[in-house]
Symmetry: C2
Subunit: 720 residues, 2 copies
């Protein structure tokens, strides 16, 4: 019976009575008219009971919430009237709470897909309670911060601190220790939180979560845990000879989707309850096989009054030998699907194509589209969103540089360490290669990995769908899959201009070594460069004694097929026969002229060079170097401005005599070619440069005069 204020209860009671009268007079058939073939006319008042999926069209009235007809086997009394009252929905703007335990890189990706599916259908404000390890927190905190979804609040809880509470339980399940943490949520979540939906990371929503939340209203006064029955025979204990599962009621319950009345569990002494049960069972059982699920089931077997069975459509379990098919009769019945096989999407069952499509929908769904306002529900805007809206509103749409200014303000969703990543061990002179790319440069990655054996931090500018293509690309490459020291950070595409410096800053911020080599993706460094740089950093006392940027001289080949030089001697020979050139020798020698290639030919030791206008060398600097100026979007002046900033902050420019890097030819990227021919493009770039110099003067005063003077010289064309 629904609980509510007295007046509503009285009303509900009377209405129920009246409805009952209707049933007595017209029989069961009445209310179910509309389920029948051709019954478009239908009768009012008929809704599938909240605890039962709809009756299949063939009229078979079967017990659908429990998996078979044996009343002894299935737990709970969920075989209520099929035409009961409609499920009460939470009020329109009620805040719904969801808790998820998440650890590691792969689970973080899963959580995002789950959240996308939830957001797609949700109509209520949400508060996500994420119990995470350090890796997942790092990823998800940045993701939600940059996602800026209206009416979504996120709180983090440190899984490390909870570990000790469950680490004593021997566990054989693939979810590891983290699977067990659902047990301690009543104490880990805030004391004032009374209701929460707990989800595994491998579930996908196919409906509005408020419908699930509404099932709390069906709990009796003592029920505290809402669960769906298991759709496999595991707990029946007859899968193989001597198969001895943990105790459970019948098939037991699956803990992929849980409705928790935290208040009641706390009152009932849940902490002690599950510990006692677990300790006792572990006297005879060696370990949990299914993590928290074993313990939940053992507790429920002892205290069956705690559990409210939920309709099976709220946790359609897609394991290999699933009985889930008995649960749903049509696609419209599905509410939540649960990829609870270790095979995940490779699992086989009759409708797996359908389920996979649903999952892929959200996997590849453009998360930017979920930033849509939850209008009708007033809510606190996400941090930073209001200022952003104001700044965007102040832009002049008639300004020819409007697109540039809009792009500069865009906050891109950022998913750092998209793939498993092992941070490099702390070494005082280690260097991370930093670069950025989009889909059309993925082919560079293998070669880059062969040339640079050290850590890399790469920002990738991708759509959600491209991120999945990227994932498959890495998995298909033995070279790339083997590298755990390359961190890939996905920055999601938004807007027409390539945010080159924002991408560089993301990659730079995620570098974990004391030094960084600021490179571009179409360059291959000398095979020896990684070792040589570390040795040079140590010898020169970079960072601690000297504030310097080490210049790596840049060359280029115009040949598509090209044999990479193994030494400076080989490089010079190629240069002499015209198989190599200094970088942009033909079109734009100013960009690297200060490197002084003639001197470099002969140099035996690092030598200092002076900044000059338009200088844009590739440099090695301490990780705490100035960031790139994010105002430069599209292609032009983005590196030049960074070198100006380094010079203004008095970094010495030291050219390394044995270092080199070579640019490979490629067709211009789409992002470049779209704008190179634009007539307003150069004007806008000039405006950006002017503003950059104004800011420079503000920060550095008279010292910035030399850059302004340099600007008076013939203008440089728009370049990258």
């Amino acid at each position: 019976m629904p609980r509510g204020r007295p007046r509503a209860m009285g009303a509900a009671a009377l209405l129920l009575l009246l409805l009952l009268l209707g049933f007595l007079l017209f029989g069961w058939d009445l209310g179910c008219e509309r389920h029948k073939q051709g019954g478009r006319a239908g009768a009012p008042g008929c809704f599938p009971g909240p605890l039962m999926p709809r009756v299949p069209p063939d009229g078979r009235l079967r017990r659908a919430a429990a998996l078979d007809g044996d009343p002894g086997a299935g737990p709970g009394d969920h075989n209520r009237s099929n035409c009961g009252p409609p499920p009460p929905r939470p009020s329109k703007c009620e805040l719904l709470h969801v808790a998820i335990v998440c650890a590691g890189h792969n689970s973080s990706r899963d959580v995002i897909t789950l959240v996308k599916s939830m957001l797609f259908y949700r109509k209520n404000p949400l508060h996500l309670h994420l119990v995470t390890d350090a890796v997942a927190r790092n990823i998800l905190e940045m993701l939600f911060h940059t996602w800026m979804v209206p009416a979504v609040r996120v709180s983090f809880y440190n899984a490390e601190e909870l570990k000790s509470q469950v680490s004593w339980i021997p566990n054989k399940h693939y979810s590891g220790l983290y699977g067990l943490m659902k047990l301690v949520l009543p104490s880990a979540l805030p004391a004032e939180l009374a209701h929460v939906i707990v989800l595994d990371t491998d579930v996908t929503f196919a409906s509005d979560i408020s419908e699930l939340w509404a099932l709390f209203a069906h709990f009796s006064d003592t029920q505290a845990i809402g669960l769906v029955e298991n759709q496999s025979d595991w707990y029946l204990g007859n899968l193989w000879k001597n198969h001895r599962p943990w105790p459970a009621l019948g098939r037991g319950f699956n803990t992929g989707v849980i409705l928790l009345r935290l208040d009641r569990l706390r009152q009932a002494g849940w902490e002690q309850m599950w510990r006692l049960t677990a300790r006792r069972e572990l006297l005879t059982l060696p370990a949990t096989s299914l993590a928290d699920q074993d313990i939940f089931n053992a507790v429920i077997k002892e205290h069956p009054g705690l559990v409210q069975p939920l309709p099976c459509v709220w946790n359609v379990q897609l394991s290999d030998h699933t009985l889930a098919e008995r649960c749903y009769s049509a696609a419209s019945d599905l509410k939540v699907i649960h990829w609870n096989s270790p095979k995940k999407l490779q699992v086989k069952n009759k409708h797996v194509e359908f389920f996979r499509n649903l999952y892929l929908t959200f996997l590849e769904y453009d998360g930017n589209l979920l930033r849509r306002e939850l209008f009708g529900c007033p809510s606190q805007p996400p941090p930073g969103a209001e200022q952003l809206q104001q700044a965007l509103a102040q832009l002049d749409e008639e300004d020819p540089c409007f697109e540039f200014r809009q792009q500069q303000l865009t906050v891109h969703r950022v998913h750092v360490t998209f793939l498993p990543h092992e941070p490099p061990p702390p070494r005082p002179h280690d260097v991370t290669l930093v670069a950025q790319l989009s889909m059309d440069r993925l082919q560079m990655l293998e070669a880059l990995c062969r040339h640079w054996p050290g850590p890399m931090s790469l920002a990738l500018y991708l759509t959600d769908a491209e991120a999945q293509q990227f994932l498959r690309f890495i998995e298909a490459s033995p070279v790339l899959a083997a590298r755990q020291d390359v961190a890939y950070h996905v920055v999601y595409r938004e807007g027409p201009l390539y945010p080159v410096n924002q991408l560089r800053n993301v990659a730079l911020a995620q570098a974990l070594t004391p030094y960084v080599f600021l490179s571009d993706i179409d360059f291959l460094p000398a095979y020896s460069l990684y070792d040589y740089l570390r040795a040079s950093i140590e010898q020169l006392g970079l960072g601690s004694q000297r504030k310097a940027a080490l210049v790596v001289p840049a060359f280029e080949t115009l040949h598509y097929r090209f044999s990479f030089p193994h030494s400076k001697v080989e490089l010079l020979a190629l240069l002499d026969v015209g198989a190599l050139y200094t970088f942009r020798y033909h079109e734009w020698p100013r960009g690297h002229a200060p490197t002084d290639y003639a001197r470099w030919r002969e140099a035996q030791a690092p030598y200092r060079v002076q900044w000059a206008a338009d200088y844009e060398p590739y440099v090695v600097v301490p990780r705490d170097c100035p960031r790139y100026d994010p105002r430069f979007v599209g292609f032009g002046w983005n590196k030049v401005a960074h070198i100006v900033e380094l010079d203004a902050q008095e970094y010495e420019l030291l050219v390394l005599p044995e270092a080199f890097t070579i640019h490979l030819p490629h067709a211009p990227s789409l992002d470049i070619s779209r704008f190179r021919s634009s007539p307003t493009y150069r004007d806008c770039l000039r405006a950006l440069k002017d503003e950059f110099h104004q800011d420079l003067s503000r920060h550095h005063g008279a010292a910035a005069l030399k850059y302004l003077r340099a600007l008076q010289q013939p203008q440089s064309p728009a370049r990258g």
Copy 2:
């Protein structure tokens, strides 16, 4: 009042009575409990009336279906009880009929987005009735044929044949003559069709169409047209001085979404009715301003009993000064949105971001995912789907070439002439350049257009989202946007291997000139080639007198920057200084050796050459030439097999002395690089070649022996 069989009617009446009693006892407030803040408990039996959106949470009970409080201004009596009976839904597997008028390339793209939104939410089988011009039919017939969506039937009706019925009406609306065709649907659609939902191409679904269909049940015995009131003041006639719209009830109705009882309209003499009204109004009004909508409204003003007003959420109209905001109070209210401004997505209104997101969701949605089975509803599989399923089921997953075989069988969705296209005028010796590409070669298009001034037929292998990027790319390029003779055919991506020959066949099948130049996207033809080929075809009497393939000798540059030769003399000079090479001179001279470049240097007239193993020249052939063998997916032997087939069918190979085409260097595409290194790749390619030769022997008998013998020679590596 809902209509149904007598028993259901009696039941409904009694239940209404009982509900009324409830209201009398507990007041209006009772049933709406659940809409209130925090009212999770709620009272059973409360549903928003089908003809009214929900009451907003602030409790303001306003007349939401009509746009303002003036009872005289809004048509219809849709201000019923807010807590009436729930809308009856069509029975689970009832077939719903939808009619759409569609003409031209751009509307065809719109229809596809509309259909995607409909399919995403639908839970019923659908029958689409498409009234199309020849262009739209060509596009949509191929699209639906290759889409193979289960439980969707499509019928086409020839708009040209209906034109005469409406062409006498002067019309100023941007939809042109096709807008008016909705008027003739009762006679144009099959006589046995009684109910149909009629949609404009610029609507987007945000809900299950069966909920809209269910509103038919609310029609009285005489009502025949379900419409939503206009959400603008147009028909009030006070927008400007002397603004004289067509007659309408109050704000009139919008015809973007119509529920038509065709049976009743036919009975009521609709044909005569609207014609009489239109003729009479045209005596004093110069033309229709809003096409069919003016006439529907004028008829309704005369026969108000025909119309059943629908809740405004079923046609939320997003024009510039829309009053739509008065209609919905929250995102959850929206059912169908209607981009009924000529500005479409550029329109401005308060929630346009939200609406745009919804639209973009479906615009970029992977249509392949909508192929999901409508399980629970038995339905005739789409043509070819069963054979395809069987063939796929017969594949052996353990076969190392499984991916190849699966890819060969894949039926890709094909959207021909994705962009507006003007077929070339019929000219007896005209040649179309045929090629295929994916996203990473878009940059080639501008240069190609400069080199080839004639018609082109290009197949693009894209995702749905990439197709939109492609669209923006074309729009942003003045060179490309100006070319109406380039036909772009989108083949939607599916599977891991690039279906190169399937793409070539799509482009080839869509070429409309008598001859085709079978090229590749990374080649630029000589500037004069188009003219020269047409002259050569004429001179040689190709096609009519001679069965020949004209060979265009292929060269390559290894330089990324390169000045294209303007004549054969210039080309030979570049060849002599090593700035150019014959194509794949270094790695695979066999591919083009039979062209005999030495002879070509001196040749003044076309000369015949003999086929040899691995020959893969670029050729000009009649359009009815053999198709490419679709078994070759990925990269390797795909062109070679085609030349074998030409030779087997006794095409003469004639090298043209002044023709040339030059390959530009580029990084290997993702699709290539993914498989080049694969160890099983070569084995599978060998297996494919063997099967190809077996088929060749079957078709050509002893004549095919020479190809088998050639195969005994040292194997060629896997190449493109």
